[in-house]
Symmetry: C2
Subunit: 513 residues, 2 copies
């Protein structure tokens, strides 16, 4: 399998009266000698260009070939001396989109950039965007926005690498099911309605031109497959990157982005569930805070002696808000300082002058006006804390429920992968101390960074991995939480800090590392 | 193989929480049970429509599936109660295009129509059109003309059948290599230049939408493959229709349309050559006359006693011109009456008042002014006759040369298929008497009619035949006449009427049957 690659240099026999088969047939014959058994399809866009290009290049070329099981598809032809035949890996996030350009020959990263998903102008979350699409003829607004933004991004990324964006022959895109649907211009209304049916789980390789993506005219766009409406290709990419599907020991992968998605398993089996399908997480994790960016509070230490707050912001800029990992730190520190009780309720007497109330809603001041960019204090309300408590309870309950289905507990895990935007920043110590994550030894936790992007990059770098994707999909058993009887009972117990059974979460003193 | 078909009715399990895979994946799973092994691709256009259609139709549909070896492609979805899922067969002729609509379930012809190839406005023949395409940005003029005319035709044909043209899910198109290139919008300049390289011989199944053909949005257009620049898909379709490739006895197929193409063979091997590749046929057969249409002279009898001409026109209309088969009749009758000699030269003394001369070019009056629509006499000049002699010589020489390569002679053939526009009207007796066709018993000749159209229709009616196409292509050995030493020698001998060896062509007395 290691001889799998994307780029095949070909040198065709020069045509003559004794050898006058057609250009494209000659090209296919040359390629087929490298590829072996299997059908090779050449898109019309490439049939149109091949005669000119082959003559221009002296009947030599670098061909980009996409293989899917027994079939091959030519997704591009580049000059025989093209130094860096590029492919792009895309993490198509609900909030943020990351695009990485990879040299398909050297397998090195050529450039990387990211941008806010422009669909945010339509709605902050998946639900709002889907509802928008149901109005009149707005179903394609989200599609047009993301395609146009991707084109802008790809063009500028190409420019920075000194290549022509039309030389990009292959893209691998991973995103959640709704993002994938918007990308493809598919109807999303049924994703959010029982029984939660996507239009497609396995779109496979799509013509870039048909999609409107301005790369090579014959370019192919591989869309990571999803398992269902609430378990998308981003997590399949994450599993691929983590190697969960190849290990003998059972491990878990938790991906907390817009939703919380969890996969438990090993090389023999995989069990999965998704938070948004559970009744408790609706609007949960999504409200935990803003995206990590300069000025966002991502660490908080509260002195248990004098109640003094010490905040750290990203890039040490004046504070502008708080992100998910900052909120978890805050909750852990507030609890440790006695400023919130086991139910997560603010204790005014302990909060001192950090306590306030606005319209009957209590809050705690996290950053004073002199610490912020906009010179207004930043507060976290009781509502935010309640939301966090529900989210952390849901997360732990998912872990408990999922492990219980295979007669394990969260404490039995020897490897705990944390992926997703949120996962990159979370500090396990804090998450453990509020009962969100199990109290495993610190070195059992592995932060994957942007596992969706890394998974998409992995198939560009190791084309043989492509076969793993289908086998991962086939092995996954999906657990529907909203038809699970035990879930709500466990959830009630997990809504305390750290839990009704605090022995599960041995409290760690000292500052977060 | 007989269970191969285009239409698969499916009834999907209704989605529910316990069975909530995606619409398209559910559809594929249902289809795959019918199809067995092999990959099934669903075009994006259909992924977009499937969720709505499946719900509208209660999760039932008639699916149109195109199979190519180990792969399948869904080319359309129709309502489960759609009475006549239509496909179209197209003979894409240089002069005339014929379109036939076939019910893919009952396999019956629903309607048929034809129209002049609108590329005639650009040039009467392949050469003129290719040259036009080389000017500036005119390369796509021919493409746009034919696509637009096909769309008009398909729309009106659909209307006459009471169906929606967007319900046509499959088209099978056969044409010569240049016509196929124009249809696909491919560069044609290299087709006519040594070493005569087409852009593609086997384009396979093309997306109708990509082509601009306004049938079902996911519709597929199968293009019959060619062997080379001068041996097109129309002849492959003709071979398929004739059954030449399945017979134990060696037979020949002669297709005289714009070019003369000949295939010799049986179920074990096939030898082919094309007239336009031979030096003698250049501009030959093409100039033999006008297309058969009302008023065209297609039969001539000359009384050898008194030299009286008796002409017959198509639909008995006043004469407007003469077609190829009429010219052959004329030459046969002129020779029998002594009005031309063995070299094909007009003999003034024998022609009497039918003889004339204009600008030094002798001619014979075929129809007097009172017999014609435009009240002007119709003449055939010495130049026309010389051209016919070259064409008939080339035809016979091709037959001789081709049979000689397998150590046979034209007289050894037990089955002689005549296809193409011209072949439909030719009378073997006349063609034999001028030495154009070998003197085989009359019942050895089989007129195929429009063999290109019939071949295209055949794969719609018998999808299992699809596999034969590739095996026909693989078995064909193509003989290049312009590198053949014996050709010119044989050609010189064949330029006499009937031949330098008249014993080969026992003269048949009496009127043509």
């Amino acid at each position: 399998m290691n001889d799998r690659r994307w780029i095949y240099p070909v040198a065709l026999p020069i045509p003559g009266l004794e050898n006058n088969t057609a250009d494209v047939d000659r090209l296919c014959a040359s390629l087929q000698r490298h590829l072996g058994r299997g059908q090779l399809a050449v898109p019309l866009a490439l049939i149109k260009r091949a005669p000119h290009l082959l003559r221009q290049w002296g009947y030599q070329a670098k061909c980009v070939v996409f293989r899917d099981r027994e079939t091959y598809r030519l997704t591009g032809m580049l000059a025989p001396d093209h130094p860096s035949p590029p492919g792009i890996a895309v993490d198509l996030g609900t909030s943020r989109v990351v695009v990485r350009m990879i040299d398909l020959e050297t397998l090195k990263t050529m450039a990387e950039t990211s941008f806010d998903n422009p669909q945010i102008t339509i709605g902050p979350d998946v639900l709002a965007r889907i509802h928008h699409g149901e109005k009149g003829d707005a179903v394609n607004d989200c599609h047009r926005l993301i395609i146009s933004a991707l084109n802008d991004c790809i063009r500028s990324l190409s420019h920075s690498c000194g290549i022509d964006h039309q030389d990009i022959c292959l893209a691998a895109i991973s995103g959640n099911t709704t993002m994938t649907h918007f990308l493809l211009g598919l109807e999303t209304r049924w994703i959010i309605r029982e029984p939660y049916i996507p239009a497609v789980n396995c779109p496979g390789l799509i013509d870039a031109a048909e999609l409107g993506l301005e790369i090579h005219p014959a370019g192919g766009v591989y869309i990571f497959p999803s398992i269902g409406s609430y378990f998308g290709g981003d997590l399949i990419a994450g599993i691929l990157y983590s190697g969960l599907h190849e290990a003998e020991d059972t491990a878990i992968l938790v991906d907390v982005g817009t939703n919380a998605e969890v996969v438990l398993g090993n090389r023999h089996w995989l069990m999965a569930c998704a938070g948004a399908a559970g009744p408790a997480l609706e609007g949960g994790v999504t409200k935990m805070g803003m995206m990590a960016s300069p000025g966002v509070i991502d660490r908080i230490v509260i002195d248990p002696q004098n109640g003094a707050f010490q905040i750290a912001t990203i890039e040490k800029q004046p504070a502008v808000g708080i992100c998910g990992s900052g909120l978890i730190d805050l909750a852990a520190q507030l609890f440790q300082a006695g400023m919130i009780d086991m139910r997560g309720k603010l204790v005014p007497s302990k909060c001192g002058d950090r306590y306030g109330s606005d319209g009957g809603v209590p809050h705690v001041v996290v950053a004073t006006a002199d610490q912020t960019r906009h010179a207004e204090k930043i507060v976290v309300t009781q509502i935010d804390i309640d939301s966090l408590i529900r989210s952390k309870a849901a997360m732990y309950t998912i872990l408990e429920t999922l492990t219980a289905t295979v007669e394990m507990t969260p404490m039995d895990l020897h490897r705990f992968f944390v992926g997703g935007t949120f996962g990159s920043f979370i500090r396990p110590e804090s998450a453990i101390s509020i009962g969100m994550l199990p109290n495993l030894p610190r070195d059992h936790y592995v932060s994957l960074g942007n596992s969706s992007l890394e998974g998409a990059s992995k198939i560009l770098r190791e084309p043989a991995c492509f076969d793993d994707i289908e086998s991962i999909r086939e092995r996954i058993t999906y657990l529907e939480l909203n038809v699970n009887q035990d879930f709500m009972n466990r959830f009630s117990a997990a809504k305390f800090i750290p839990h009704t059974n605090p022995a599960l979460f041995q409290y760690r003193t000292g500052n977060p590392a």
